[in-house]
């Protein structure tokens, strides 16, 4: 096994939405600095936006809304528990991001007068900006990465952040094709590895039939944890209302501005707003369990031209294979509703609020370690939030590295990590990763899928702890399989975090995301706070409360309860 040693000023782990932007912004801030993106796949087509995006969900455009209004909207949608100044950044910088993307050739929908054509999907404001021609977004970003002379190493998967004297000093990983051990020294590191999209098992039973790009297995959540960083509100799961079996968005964000809506089996509305929130998911869950299910996205009342326009957007961007999915089942939006289901659980602050604790500079609690995108705890952040947090991390890291020197990694740490990574190759006849992962994720469904029961979660937690032994049985026959094995390690860590955090918060909040059967009510007196976790000095997973910082935008949560039920 060869070892590759690399050095850079700023290491970006994960070259997706946030990562490419982090690299570009760092280079713009300091063109002389060396910036390296480490990517498990290939940045040309990796991550959530591999096939582009059909819209921006969180666009704060002057003349349509203000950052303050946006902060208000998300504060209410996220039941009050958030750091407003983080969310503010998305509102503050999103417009600049959109303009810069546009200057690079990304197209956003405009009206006849040339103004951004915003749509209302949220409860109050207009924040959705369609991108009917958004399919090449990732190719455009990859081109800018190259133009800005950011170095890129594709097909290397990071497995651990190196920390010395309390400071992030680089990362280790391996080449998923050649198998080389890779050690990278860096003065600052940002984790941008996306959501934990492979936590629960999809109802189809197909391990990779997930909503999120399945390359995002919670790698960054686990790496941040082992680096000693705090994570927050992990119990605020990501659960989405998706096309049954296909597991992609149905997609009300595109279709509802045209008049589509989510309906029950009788064809009636049961929610007044299609924006994804925990409360909306709870109403969906109730409807499914009321005998009025299944629920579907209803478009068959729209005229043929309108449906053709919706199809034009959906068949070309984001998850274009849904066309052939419907075709295979003989379904047509003109006559059939899109049958929907509640997804398995995941972790993602892009959609809900579970993530690595960051401040408004994208710093984690470990000096030199930043987090951005779906894995960083800025609630409901979506794509523009990923760009903004990537940008913040790149710019702030360039300040931080000023005058810093590289630090020699600890040989003992390297030896231990090397042994952990390559162990499955020594057991080529060990249990295949597919079986090990399947069982782990089935346990996640069995014991963690809301509504949450304390006894079940206790059993689940014990199973996840015992699963360390199962991981030691896993075998790999090549570097590719080794990549999947290491992902299963990450998934196990995330499952344990999800169980512990859910047991810790003894109330219900965020609708279905954290609906506890034994504490069915919200308890603001004791739990209007963040529930954080980190690895203690002795290596235990410890839970603790963090107060919610005073609001910068006044919101009266007593009066402004998020409620989208149709009664």
């Amino acid at each position: 096994m060869n070892t590759q040693h690399l050095q850079t000023d700023f290491l970006v782990i994960g070259g997706g939405t946030a990562g490419t932007m982090a690299g570009i912004k760092a280079k713009q801030a300091n063109p002389d600095a060396d910036v390296l993106i480490l990517e498990k796949a290939n940045i040309r087509r990796s991550g959530a936006i591999a096939m582009g995006m059909d819209g921006v969900n969180t666009a704060v455009i002057p003349g349509n809304s203000t950052p303050e209004q946006y902060v208000r909207e998300i504060t209410i949608a996220n039941d009050g528990v958030l750091e407003q100044k983080n969310v503010y950044q998305t509102g503050r910088w999103g417009f600049e991001v959109i303009q810069e993307l546009e200057s690079w050739g990304v197209k956003f929908q405009k009206d006849h007068e040339g103004n951004y054509d915003l749509k209302q999907v949220h409860r109050v404001g207009k924040y959705v900006l369609p991108m009917p021609e958004g399919k090449d977004l990732k190719k455009i970003l990859a081109r800018q990465v190259k133009r800005h002379k950011v170095r890129v190493t594709n097909r290397v998967m990071a497995t651990r952040v190196m920390v010395k004297d309390g400071r992030a000093i680089g990362a280790v990983g391996f080449d998923v094709r050649k198998g080389d051990f890779v050690v990278i020294q860096a003065k600052a590191v940002v984790l941008c590895t996306g959501a934990c999209g492979r936590l629960g098992l999809p109802a189809s039973g197909y391990l990779y039939g997930t909503y999120e790009n399945p390359t995002n297995a919670g790698d960054g959540y686990s790496m941040a944890y082992h680096a000693g960083a705090e994570l927050t509100n992990i119990e605020c799961f990501q659960i989405n209302p998706l096309i049954k079996d296909y597991n992609g968005p149905a997609c009300a964000y595109v279709a509802s501005p045209f008049g589509a809506y989510t309906a029950n089996a009788e064809g009636n509305r049961f929610i007044s707003c299609d924006y994804w929130s925990g409360q909306m998911m709870l109403e969906t869950w109730k409807e499914l369990n009321s005998g009025k299910g299944p629920v579907h996205l209803k478009m068959y009342h729209l005229d043929d031209d309108t449906i053709s326009e919706i199809e034009r957007v959906l068949w070309a961007n984001e998850r274009p294979s849904r066309e052939r999915f419907h075709e295979g089942r003989g379904e047509d939006y003109r006559t059939d509703g899109v049958e929907m289901n509640i997804s398995e659980i995941g972790l993602c602050s892009g959609h809900s609020a579970s993530g690595v604790w960051v401040n408004d500079k994208a710093e984690t609690t470990v000096p030199g370690l930043y987090a951005a995108g779906d894995m960083a705890s800025v609630p409901h952040n979506y794509m523009i939030g990923a760009f903004v947090s990537g940008r913040l991390s790149g710019i702030n890291a360039m300040d931080y590295v000023e005058g810093l020197e590289h630090v020699e990694p600890d040989p003992e740490f390297l030896a231990t990590e090397k042994a952990r990574i390559y162990a499955p190759l020594d057991r080529p006849d060990g249990v295949p990763h597919t079986q090990v992962e399947y069982k782990l994720r089935r346990y996640v469904n069995d014991y963690l899928q809301p509504p949450k029961s304390p006894t079940k979660m206790d059993i689940g937690l014990a199973a996840f702890e015992r699963y360390h032994e199962t991981l030691d049985l896993m075998g790999a026959q090549d570097p590719h399989e080794l990549m999947r094995c290491m992902e299963v390690h990450f998934i196990r860590d995330c499952a344990e975090m999800a169980a512990r955090a859910s047991l810790y918060r003894k109330e219900s909040r965020w609708g279905l995301y954290h609906y506890r059967l034994d504490y069915p009510e919200k308890n603001n007196e004791e739990w209007f706070c963040h529930a954080n976790l980190k690895k203690s000095e002795t290596g235990e997973m410890e839970m603790f409360k963090r107060p919610v910082s005073p609001y910068m935008v006044e919101v009266n949560l007593q009066q402004e309860v998020y409620d989208v039920a149709v009664r």
């Binding site: 290939n42 189809s204 999915f325």
Partner: protein
């Protein structure tokens, strides 16, 4: 441990008559890294059944040799 090899229906089909020996486009872009070349024939094929049915492989193929089906379990 004792292992058995099981047959599975994989979602990606390559029309070998159209696949170019010198090309690697689909292999380079696949986010899951599941496509490889058969060293004997020089043709691409799906080696691992781990697919997000996302389509970059199909879109980037210069000769339209690739067809991505929805994986059997979801179809």
């Amino acid at each position: 441990m004792a292992l058995a090899t099981q047959r599975v229906d994989v979602p990606v089909i390559v029309d070998e008559s159209k696949c170019l020996e010198k090309c690697k486009a689909c292999i380079e872009v696949c986010p899951l890294d599941v496509l490889v070349k058969n060293p004997e024939t020089g043709k691409a094929y799906m080696k691992y059944d781990e697919c997000w049915f996302c389509l970059p492989c199909e879109k980037e193929c210069p000769t339209n040799a690739i067809t991505v089906q929805i994986p059997f379990l979801l179809r």
